[in-house]
């Protein structure tokens, strides 16, 4: 059962890396705009004759 310690450690390391990624990205401003990116996904594709 002491393998549980290993599992605990592994799980915490992985989740901490997610936490660190979250902190870093928040500081870089990923979450500054909550509304825009959510809406942009849902826009229809522009027709082909537009600029690339």
């Amino acid at each position: 059962m002491s393998v549980l310690i290993l599992l605990l450690a592994a799980s915490l390391i992985i989740s901490s890396s997610f936490l660190i990624a979250f902190i870093v990205q928040t500081k870089r401003g990923q979450f500054d705009d909550m509304y825009g990116p959510a809406q942009k996904i849902l826009f229809e594709e522009d027709s082909i004759k537009d600029k690339i």
Binding site: M1, S2, L4, I5, L8, S11, L12, S15, L19, F22, I23, T26, K27, G29, F31, D32, D33, M34, Y35, G36, Q39, K40, F43, E44, D46, S47, D50, K51
Partner: protein, 799 residues
Amino acid sequence: MITKETIRCYHCHSPQQESMIRHDDKDFCCQGCITVYDILHSRDLCQFYDMDDMDFLKKAPFNISRSYSYLDTEEFSKRLIRYSDQKQTHVRFYIPQIHCRSCLWLLERLYKIDSRILRSEVLFDQKELYVVYETGSLLLSELVSILASIGYEPSINQTAEDEKPKTQRSEILKIGISGFCFANIMMLSLPEYFSSGIIQESIIRSTIPVLQILLSLPVITYTAWDFFRPSISNLKKGRLIIDFPISVAIVITFLRSIYDIYYGYSAGYLDSMTGIVFFMLIGRWMQSRTHQFLSFDRKFLSFFPVMVEKIEDMKRCFVSINDIQKGDRITIYPQEIIPVDGILSRGKAVIDYSFVNGESDLQEISIGQHIYAGGKQTQNTIDLIVMNSHEQSKMISMWNHASFKNKKVRNENQLLDTAGMIFTWIVLGLGMGAWLFWMSQSKPLMAWNSLTTILIVACPCALLLTSSFVYGHYIRVLSKYHFFLRDSQVLNDLINIDHIVFDKTGTLTIINGLLVEFQGDQLDEKTKQALTDIFSHSQHKLARAILEYLAMPVDHYDINMKETIGEGLEVWLDDQHYKIGSDRFVGLQSEDTRTRVHVIRDNRSLGCFIIQNKYRSGIEKMIGTLGEKFKLSLLSGDHENEYTYLSKFFPLNASLKFRQTPLQKLEYIEQTKSEKNERIMMVGDGLNDSGAFKAADVGVVITERNNNFNPESDIILEASSLIWLDKLLTFVSKMPYIVMVISVYSLLYNLIGLYFALQGKLSPVVAAILMPMSSISIILGVYLSVEYFHYKIFKNTQS
């Protein structure tokens, strides 16, 4: 009442108020909307109209034909350009009109409107637009013209606050971190739950608690400080706010858990502690988020004209405020705010210093006298000689003057804080009582046990959670009906209102698009021009309607005008004497009860403008409904000729007063407040009654296709939503009930849970789930109650 058949302008979605113009098989409300539609149509951008459903009222574009050439100067370019090289230039604008999906969609397709624009990106929450264009191919002034032509003129003198992203980031970080810690602590409790409370392996038994404590550290040292900090700062001021008992509970839970874990009494309560912090932070964040749409920007600078007209060697040119030097001569137009201290050199100055010292009395300044920055020139055009350049001006310090800043001393969440205070004393009382009891029985362990348990369990977290979410949802729903509150404290004020005071012109009646006809001699072009110039200097609301009717461009003129507010004006122009105004002002008798503006030139009557008072549709019914619950008053600057009509739908005990000056309005409100002790809500357009707004408990400003709002107001209401005021107030009145019911529910939930837990009938797993469940059920309960009332009250309206 707006019904399904109401036609809406195809572009801006405002409901039909007057005759709509038909263009390209669609209805539009004004030429401005048609112009923008044409632009979009020709560039194949009509998808703009498919974006949002008709619910979202878009603002109509302004008809501005302004020169933006001052933007090409070094100084302004410097401010706006973020990056520039041979190939590309990056610019950032603040565009307050950004408010919906369509705005987002359109502004990111600017390259379709002008191919010199390479790309553009919208930062929606900050209402900013980032544009990249080919260096050298496009002037800033052209770019801004393009934006203005589609209805998104950037606000040059105002930038989005740079602090906003930082505070928001810190909130998000705190929620993320406390969520992480909470979830992991709960996960670490699983081994204990599933081995019925006893873990055989000593390694696991010792590591898990240590890890839990480590995980709770970020919460207690960083994230929970959002509650500790205000508690401490308020405590220093001698005030107890709701954050205080919550902070006490958090700290006690933490210490008690460490104690229990160390001595092996129990596994601690760290999951509860971190869970509470997590949910309450979410509640707070949600509450503040709903305000992000609103920018009640009280930055003084945004009320200033950015460019001031300077006279140099008989020539006029535009100069930025910052460039004004001592000794310059500048021109100030009516309704503009004086940017710098100066001495009056020409024209008649009648200054409103209410922004500066809160006084609504107008001050007449004679030539050679001092005029202070921050005052608003009310009539006529004047010239000043500048005494102090912009930086040395005293206006910033005046703005911070107490009389302007705080009309009432306000605490955030006053209701909540009182509840919190009572709660704290009760809990402390109980705790101390239990402690003393057990100490007297010589059982110190029990004493500390009960004290800490009571402090932990009796945490008013549910109260805070409930109210944050209730405020948040309420503001969201109210905004949908274009009822924008300054902050959640206003909601509390709204609940206590007894008496509503209405302004007439512009509030109950429409200003834009009024039916105007001219009765009299045919007006020639020269006369029309003269009248246009005259009326453009008047501050009367009817003058605006007449200007719209005359539809001529204004020729700036140095007009020596004497205006009697609410009555008329007298002016000399081109050696001709004009007397313009009401029946009484020009000395004519008439049986006609319609609103008339006579024009007399050189003692000969040219005729009169007849202006129909057009009341907003549905207003009669709304006043009727309101009259059942509130005392009503009408304060109008107009004549009594509307009295008969108004008394038909105003209740019998309502006071209808006419020919009120701004000062009289203020006095009426103050008098009613002191004599009858009633809480007053004032509904008006804020232009001429800022004193009255300050005196009222809640000030509601009606906006209609303009951005004029009073910094003294508490609520902005779009004109088309005024007819729902009765429903909105009913909706608001339900709020205390919701908070009370949910709080009681939460209390019962906790008590019942505690009862079973103390008897040992609750297995640890179930207990562990029940705790977050209580928070989640509160959040859900609040949402459902608010939506229930929303549906019930508003179900017959179509916004």
